[in-house]
Amino acid sequence: MKILVIEDEQALCETIVSYLEEEGYRCEQAETVKLGTEKVNLYEYDCMLVDIGLSDGSGLSLIKELKKCHPETGIIIISAKNSQDDKISGLDLGADDYLTKPFHLPELNSRIKSLLRRRKFEGKQELVIDKITIHPENRQVLVGSEPLQLTRKEFDLLMFFVSNRGRVLTKESIAEHLWGDFADAADSFDFVYSHIKNLRRKLVEKSGIDYFRNVYGTGYIFQV
């Protein structure tokens, strides 16, 4: 899987790229609209991450460019918060998803995965992780051959962990994934804790295996 990251902030770009490369993607970087246009025209990518506010212009023009030559490439916009206009015009141009800066890397990762799943397999891909089988398109989870009943939030949580297998997910990124802007509205970490407790209990009951590991004071890891 090839991903093009267009972001003019070098350090941020590097972090994104190294996180994604650890996930097994091949990444290329571009810092300007000019460079990005070149790459988009020359090569083919599975997904493009594009910052709207670039030093030599708007990333929106890149979306137009990409839609012309490779309409099947998934597009995720990265932009500053509260620029509703960018979001709307980006999605109008055919972008698939939208992330506001600053975002959590696991969040970006799970968005890319879900985008690629939708694009490549029309969502019909089966995710098999050890004893767990997930059908993302109809939000079904099987442990072994038995179906597992999960609430909406528990399912989202499981998908988030599965997408970021073996990664430390901080409480903050989990809360934001589940509740977005409301993440800091309540004692959301307590809620994260109780959601994970429930999910963990349900999975252990069915499979007898605890896939979750606490990282003291920081968050959780889902590992097989």
């Binding site: 650890e22 509260n82 509703q84 890397l105 430390v168 309540a186 004692d187 968050g219």
Partner: protein, 420 residues
């Protein structure tokens, strides 16, 4: 009290005083002149009577003229005297008692002695006095009135440039791009005042814009390094070789970076709202918006076992930007949730063009004057940045809405209402 009224009242009071004194003096002068006049008339009649008596000594003891104005009596007294006195006598023509001046004097002609009494009616002179005095009074009145209107007109005219400047000043809003300009008045004092004001306002405007730009640029520029710090720390946290203590320390730094970046975002949002950068407006159905937000929060309420009572029978719509409406409602709902207690309650109700969100809390009544100020945290909660209500208030201000706080029945009530 208006300056003009004050000046006018003093002016009128002073004029009235002067006129009153003048009136009193005038009265005495008039009185003196009239008295003099009557005395002179009596004297001239006296001279005439003396001559008549001397030329034609009367043959009877008493003589009275037909109009009773002369009365002559023979006496034996040889003393010379002359007396004046006032008296009332019945007048046949007027059919009433009228005042008279009476002059009594003695006349000696050879060995004959007479006492003469002359009466002079004061009626005419009194009438005259009244006429003159009331005419003068009327004249004073007219002059007073004329002066009053003249004075008012003059001061109106003179103060006109001042009121113009005042209206320019009161319609001026700091931060508004519209430049201030005063008309030339042609009066040097006012022109001087206006040019001083103009300079001052330009300076204030420039300072204000500078400061605002600085804040915006600063927050904007901070955003990127913060994002880098956050993502780098997130990467470090992935390192499995870290021990718990190291993990904890990095996580604390990560947490602070998140807080800082949220704070910064909120500040940027505030300045964007203040700059009115959210131009598009639409009729927003607030009840519907609240319903959709509530669905989103349902679970968080459930986890804290908060009972939510929603009573949105009256439809409430506000004309505003949709994103800001969303932020406004989210902020208020978040607050109601964040500051709530376990098993507490939230009541949301709509009334005439207004929405009230009330919640229980462990804190008592808030200090209203500080509530909507930035960073006016009344509790030290790490999850609150102290900007939520400031943002909500700023949004309301932008759309002529009133955000008010009330504490009753142990409920903290936030009400948004259309300003009338």
């Amino acid at each position: 009290m208006k300056l003009q009224t004050k000046i006018n009242i003093r002016f009128l009071a002073f004029t009235f005083l002067v006129f009153s004194i003048a009136g009193v003096l005038f009265y005495f002068a008039l009185d003196k002149v009239v008295n003099q006049n009557i005395r002179e008339m009596l004297e001239s009649r006296k001279a005439y009577i003396i001559i008549s008596l001397l030329q034609n000594p009367p043959t009877v003891d008493t003589i009275e003229s037909t109009d009773h104005s002369i009365f002559i009596k023979r006496i034996n007294n040889t003393l010379e005297y002359k007396r004046f006195s006032d008296t009332l006598a019945f007048d046949q023509e007027e059919k009433e008692l009228i005042p008279f001046r009476k002059m009594t004097f003695s006349v000696h002609s050879g060995n004959q002695h007479y006492e003469v009494v002359l009466l002079q009616s004061l009626l005419e002179s009194e009438d005259l006095q009244v006429v003159i005095f009331s005419f003068m009074a009327a004249l004073f009145g007219i002059v007073l009135l004329a002066l009053f209107f003249l004075n008012r007109w003059l001061s109106n005219k003179a103060w006109n440039p001042f009121f113009k400047s005042l209206s320019v000043l009161s319609s001026w809003k700091i931060g508004e791009a519209r430049p201030v300009s005063f008309d030339r008045t042609g009066i040097s004092e006012f022109d001087q005042l206006n040019s001083t004001l103009e300079n001052m306002m330009q300076k204030i405007q420039a300072d204000f814009i500078n400061l605002k730009e600085f804040t915006e640029n600063a927050s904007h520029e901070i955003q990127t390094p913060l994002a880098i710090i956050k993502s780098k720390l997130e990467m470090v946290l992935q390192d499995k070789t870290l021990n718990d203590q190291q993990n904890n320390r990095i996580h604390a730094a990560f947490e602070s970076a998140i807080r800082l970046s949220k704070l910064n975002e909120a500040l940027l949002l505030l300045s964007k709202i203040e700059n009115r950068q959210f131009v598009e407006t639409a009729e927003i159905d607030i009840c519907q918006l609240i319903q959709s937000r509530l669905e989103y929060l349902e679970e968080l309420f459930a986890l804290k076992q908060i009972g939510v009572t929603v009573c949105l029978e009256k439809q409430v719509t506000f004309k505003m930007n949709s994103l800001l409406a969303d932020i406004l409602i989210s902020n208020l709902l978040s607050n109601a949730l964040r500051h709530n207690i376990e098993k507490g309650k939230i009541v949301i109700s709509s009334e005439n063009q207004g929405i009230t969100i009330s919640n229980t809390s462990e804190q008592g009544e808030m200090n209203v004057s500080r509530l909507f100020r930035r960073f006016a945290k009344q509790v030290t909660s790490s999850e609150s940045n102290g900007l939520g209500l400031a943002i909500a208030n700023e949004i309301c201000n932008n759309y002529n809405l009133q955000l008010s706080y009330r504490y009753s029945n142990e409920l903290h009530c936030m009400t948004i209402r259309q300003k009338s």
